[in-house]
Symmetry: C2
Subunit: 382 residues, 2 copies
């Protein structure tokens, strides 16, 4: 996919079966920008990575099947031991390795199994093996999530992204793990805020279950050089697009989801008001079950809006579902309920709530709440 | 149940079938204390009641099947029309009638059906008919909810409470409708704060689905007199007990619930911290599905705690489920997982999270999240 970036994925025995350990190796050390969970309880890989230099990274090792969160000092020691062995094996002393984990909280990494898997991982490292890597980082995902986009600066550049969902997904932010790789030489200074903007516009605008994970991680690996700063705008556009696309794949594959609902709040006095209401509706179980049941039960949306902790004047609210006006000036307008049920029986639903109080807006993507979400999560560990 | 307080319940045709209209008549006009939803979107009955004098109330009319919320000016006009006709029929001009509604949001009350039902309601008014009234106010409840308690002051007094659940239940506060009646003469001044304390200790400490309704209402009707102020302490104790008991009936009958989980947060620096964490765990879908699946997956509780927006030091946290210590100083201690699963397969579960940072605590009751919650709410209106 990108010259000099090699991927591998193997079965190491962390999970009872299936791929569970992935490695990415950079022939030329890369710079890494990262955004981590805002949960106060953070996984060991986040604590470890934050202590590393991130401008000279040669590899990232990612496992599924074990979150290595709430594992105390031992959890950090486990990573250090693996780091030492992998660094030796890759022969990259002086360069850094970063880590990421996803899976059950509270269990320690099976360190020896991971170390034993290193020779196999190294043997499997190939530029084309990104799908094996994408498989190795999945938990309840039903398919691997990879995006690829190209743009033309001084020369042709590529951005590749890989992510895993699909529960414990909530904005601030929203996927447990997502990795982006590019051969574009991101300028050394000042890009972090653009990176965060891109995260805020994508992974922070999806939710599956309102649950903020201990392990959420978004990383961008890029070449280190200022040789093509003129193309920075193009790169930003492409990165935004890639992040948006990958984040939508995560919500599309949300646990048990049958639909993706795009919730758009318009006409708010402030963006914060719009965001609070959007997030409240997007995480409301009664709204999410109504979407599952194709029920245009708009009272649930307005009740959620009223419970968002910000002022709402119900007498001004307009609600539009799939292009049909359901509510104007806070009261129901006649609509064809059976017809609308049919229009809601789609994979994609658009809900607009216009507060008619100002000019600010916010949008977010959420899933419906279904039997399968319960099924997956009532028996996740067994 | 209480002399001079008469109840009725009838089928008026608001719902396709079943009891849907209840009336309580006070031979001697009563004083009413009320607490209403904190949702910014409030039902018409709340807007109406707030404009009434509440110290001379002769009746309360309650309907299920229609929330009369988000119905604009017409929703208020409907109540006024019903109020006029009922006032005439009861021959109580100069005394007040209060109203309460529950059901689907956004639909207007079938005013004429309600007015047509008034003669039948009046004919049915009897002191013993509280069960008919309790049936008439139910929506997705599976059984009527009535509590009764007595205490001895200058003479023997009774408190009777009636409530309906069972979805859109969240603290701040927590049942859509609850009514308490007593023949104790509550002193005219200063009792409101005790009433609110009692609400905060009961209905504000339960949640089913984290959804705050537009219609939530708790009312206390009492005789008006200062003739037995000495018994106020006894009355408060009895009222607290009755509210607690009734609120637990609501959570026990929460939509789809198979268990009630008592979540106790201890060792917090402030009560607010303890409350935030308790509420966050109590509304976490991953925690609630774990309870459904009898899975002692404590990582979900600690991840929810970390996402409560208040400081948490995971290295100090202790977690105790059904008396078994799962986590000490933030890491798992060996426990018999199969044995614990068996201990969780109960109607009542106790989860203690001790932060070991201070002396404040908070507790709340929640339900598990089950297939039946989805079933009920994906097809509530059909």
């Amino acid at each position: 996919m990108i010259k000099g970036i090699r991927f591998a994925g193997v079965e190491s025995g962390i999970k009872p079966k299936g791929y569970d350990l992935g490695l990415v190796f950079f022939e030329e050390p890369m710079n890494c920008l990262a955004a981590y969970t805002r949960n106060r309880v953070k996984a060991a890989h986040i604590l470890f990575n934050r202590r590393q230099k991130t401008d000279n990274v040669s590899a990232i090792l990612v496992n599924s099947g074990c979150a290595n969160a709430c594992t105390g000092r031992e959890g950090l020691e486990d990573i250090k031991a693996i780091n030492n062995r992998l660094s030796e094996a890759l022969n990259i002393e002086g360069q850094g390795i970063l880590f990421a984990s996803t899976g059950v909280i509270g269990k320690r990494l099976p360190k020896d199994r991971i170390i034993d898997a290193i020779p196999g991982l190294l043997k499997g490292l190939k530029e084309k093996n990104i799908e094996l890597f994408a498989n190795a980082i999945m938990t309840t995902d039903t398919y691997p999530k990879i995006v690829k986009t190209k743009f033309k600066g001084k020369r042709q550049y590529t951005i590749v992204g890989v992510a895993k969902g699909s529960g414990m997904i909530n904005p601030l932010f929203a996927t447990m793990l997502a990795f982006f790789f590019t051969d574009y030489p991101v300028p050394k200074e000042g890009f972090k805020r653009y990176f965060m903007d891109s995260v805020r516009g994508s992974f922070e605008r999806i939710t599956v279950d309102g649950e903020c994970s201990t392990n959420d991680t978004v990383m961008l690996f890029s070449r280190k050089s200022n040789e093509d700063e003129d193309s920075l705008g193009l790169f930003r556009d492409s990165l935004n697009k890639a992040m948006k696309e990958l984040s939508l794949m995560v919500v599309r594959d949300g646990e048990g989801a049958t639909r993706v609902i795009h919730i758009i709040i318009k006409g708010a006095k402030t963006k914060e008001t719009a965001e609070r209401i959007a997030r409240r509706i997007a995480t409301s179980p009664l709204s999410k079950t109504a979407f599952f049941g194709c029920d245009p039960n708009w009272g649930r949306f307005i009740a959620a809006a009223g419970d968002a902790g910000v002022p709402v004047d119900p007498s001004k609210v307009e609600i539009i579902m799939q292009g049909e006006v359901l509510v104007r000036a806070g009261v129901e307008v006649p609509f064809d309920e059976q017809g609308l049920k049919g229009m809601m029986n789609k994979k994609d639903i658009e809900l607009i709530v216009d507060l008619h109080e100002g000019r600010s807006s916010y949008d977010i993507y959420t899933t419906d709440l279904t039997y399968d979400y319960i099924k997956i999560n009532a028996s996740y560990r067994s």
